[in-house]
C-alpha cells in the first residue's frame, strides 16, 4: 500500500446550465442518472478544480451576528442564516489549519471512492467559523493539533466533487 491515499473513482460528468454546474450521478446506469445541481455553490466546486479554496462571508451591516464582517463559511453557503442576505465569495489563499478531530476509516460503505484505510479529518482554520470535514492524503500516525495544508485535484485529475479538496501534513 502506498504511503499516500489514492482515489478509486472517475471524474464525475458535469454539464452547465447558466452559472450552475450539474453533477451527473448515474445511479442506475446512464438512463438512471441523477442530475444534481451545485446551484449557487458552483464557484466552490469549480474553484477546487482550479486549485482555489473558495468560501463565503456575510458582509451585511444589518447581520446581527456578522455585523458587516462575519466569519468565513466552509463548506460555503450562498445565503447567511443569521440575516438571510446573500453572502460574498472570498478565496482563502494558501489554506492552512490544524486537525481538530479525526478518525481512521478502516472500511467505508458501498461505493466509497477513497482507498481505505485513511484519515478522515475535521480541519479548524483561522477566520473560518465552521470546522469542515475532509480527508488526509498522508498515512502517517496523526494527533489532534497537527498542522495541515490544503491540496487540490485539479485539471484532468479533478473529480468535480468534494473529494477534490484534501489535506497534507504541513
Amino acid at each position: 500500500m502506498s504511503d499516500k491515499v489514492q482515489l478509486d473513482t472517475k471524474p464525475s460528468k458535469i454539464t452547465r446550465e447558466k452559472d450552475a454546474w450539474i453533477l451527473h450521478f448515474p445511479r442506475f446506469g446512464e438512463a438512471g442518472t441523477h442530475y444534481h445541481t451545485y446551484g449557487l455553490l458552483t464557484p466552490y466546486f469549480q474553484g477546487l478544480g482550479e486549485g482555489r479554496l473558495m468560501a463565503t462571508r456575510c458582509v451585511s451591516s444589518k447581520c446581527p451576528i456578522g455585523k458587516g464582517r462575519g466569519d468565513l463559511w466552509l463548506p460555503p453557503r450562498a445565503d447567511c442564516p443569521d440575516c438571510h442576505q446573500p453572502m460574498d465569495w472570498e478565496e482563502i489563499k494558501d489554506p492552512r489549519g490544524y486537525i481538530y478531530t479525526y478518525t481512521h476509516v478502516e472500511r467505508g460503505g458501498t461505493g466509497l471512492e477513497i482507498e481505505c484505510p485513511y484519515y478522515q479529518i475535521d480541519v479548524k482554520m483561522e477566520g473560518v467559523g465552521t470546522i469542515p470535514k475532509s480527508y488526509l492524503v498522508d498515512r502517517k500516525p496523526i494527533k489532534i493539533g497537527d498542522k495541515v495544508r490544503a491540496q487540490f485535484r485539479t485539471g484532468k485529475k479533478a473529480t468535480n466533487t468534494c473529494l477534490d479538496l484534501f489535506w497534507e501534513l504541513a
Binding site: 455553490l41 481538530y100 478531530t101 478518525t103 476509516v105 460503505g109 458501498t110 475532509s134 468534494c162 473529494l163
Partner: protein, 466 residues
Amino acid sequence: MIEFQPGNLNVPRWTRPVYMVAAGTTDFRKRYPEKKLDELSMMAFRMLLEENDLKMDPQEVKGLINFACYGEFADHFQDQLLCEAKVHDYLGLDPLPNVGIKTGGATGGSTLLMGATTVASGMADCVLVLGWERMDEVKTWTGNFYIASAACKDFETRLARNYASYYAPMARRFQEMYNVDERVRAEIAVKNRGYARFSPFSQQPGRHTIEEVLEGDIVSDPLRFLECCAMSVGSSAALLCSEELATRLTDKPARLYLAGGSHTLRTGDRRPMRILLLPNETEDDYKELYREMKAQDGRWPGFESFGATRFAAYMAYHMAGIRNPLDDFDLIETHDAFTISDLQTYGDVGLTLYGREQDYVTSGDCYLSNPHTGKQGRCPANLSGGLLGTMHAVGATGIFQAGEVLWQLQGKYDKFHGDSKLWERYGKRKPDDWQSLQVKDPRRGMAISHAGVGSHVVCSILEKGW
C-alpha cells in the same frame, strides 16, 4: 441560530394532557425473511391491542382510534414509497387519516411527538403511533451507504459512506477534551448488551467483557465493533389518548411530555453558543468548562455535545416541571447507536454536568444495580438493552424505547420480558439465568430519540398518570 430571541424559548403549552396507555412490538433481527413489513407491523399492533390489560376488548379499542402517525426512516431501505398506505390498510384502519413522519434516527420520537400533538390539540382523541424499518433487503455495507445518505451529500457522504465514521471524530474529540478512558465506552457496551440478554425482543444480547470490546475489530477508530449498533428489522407501536379515554382504558396510564430540538446535519457547522442551562444548572457550574474550552480551542456544543438534545431536554423539562433530572427520573433510555452517543447524552440531558459524563457512568448510577453499592442506581439507563443490544429498526426505535419506559412505569417489565411463552413466540428460549430488570416503584422516565450526528432529537418524558 446561535443566539436566542425571547420567543424562541417559549415552552410548548398543550391545550390538554396526553397519555400513553399501551405499547406493542415485534422482536428484532438482523434479517427477518419470515415476515413482510406489514406483517411485522401487525405483530406490534396486535400486542398493543391484546396484551396491555386494557379495560376494553381489542375491537372496542380500535374503535376509539381516529388518527395514525407512522414512522419510517428511509424509503431507500423499504424500496417502497408510501409504506404508510400499505401498513394502514393492512392494519384495517382505512379510511381514517394518517401521516408519515421522517426525522432520521429520531423518527420514532418525532412520530410520538406528532401523535401527542394531535391529541393535545383536540384533533384526535386516540392516536396510533407505529414505526418500522426493514434493513435486510441490502447487504450491510450498502445499508451503511444508505444510512450515510443522511450525511450531507455535497460535502460529507463521500468521505466515508459509513455512519460510524461520522461519530468516531466526536468520540475522538470527546475523549481528548475530557480525558476519557476508553474502558468507559466499553463499559457502556457491556452494560447495554448485558441488559439485552433478559429481553425476548433483543437482537444482539451478549455477556461481554470490557477487554473483549476493546480487543474487537475497529469499525472507525476509536469505535470498535461491539460499540456500534447493527442493521435491524422490526416494528413498534404506542397508543396515545386523551385523559378521559385513558381513564376508561387503563388504571396505569403514563402522562406524556415531549419536545424536540434540531441542530445542523454537518457537525462542523455548529457554531459556538453559550450553554443553554437546564433548571438544575447555573452559569457558575460552567466557569471552569468555558476556561478549558478556551484553552483547547473548544466550543459548545462542538463535537463533544448535542445542542439538539439539550434544547429538547430544556423544553421537555419545563413542560413536565423537571427540576433535577437525577432526582426526578427513575430510568432513562438513551439513543446508544454508538457507545459515544450514550456517554455524550448524560451531559446533554443534565444527569451530570458537561465534562463529567465519564464520572457519571463510573459512578454506577446508570445501572439497575450499582456495581459499587449493590443498590439500585439513581437513574438506570437502557434496561431495554438499548440500540446496542436490542434494536435499531430506525423508524421504530423511539417508539420502542417509550414502550419499554411505559411498561417499567406500569410495573410490567416481567410480564413483557419474563414470560417463557413470549420468548418462544420469537423462537427463543428464556435464559436459565434470566433476571428481572424492573425498576423499584418508578414514577418518571425519559426516552431520547436521536438522528444523524445530532440533527434531530426528541425527549419523551413519561410520568405515572395517577
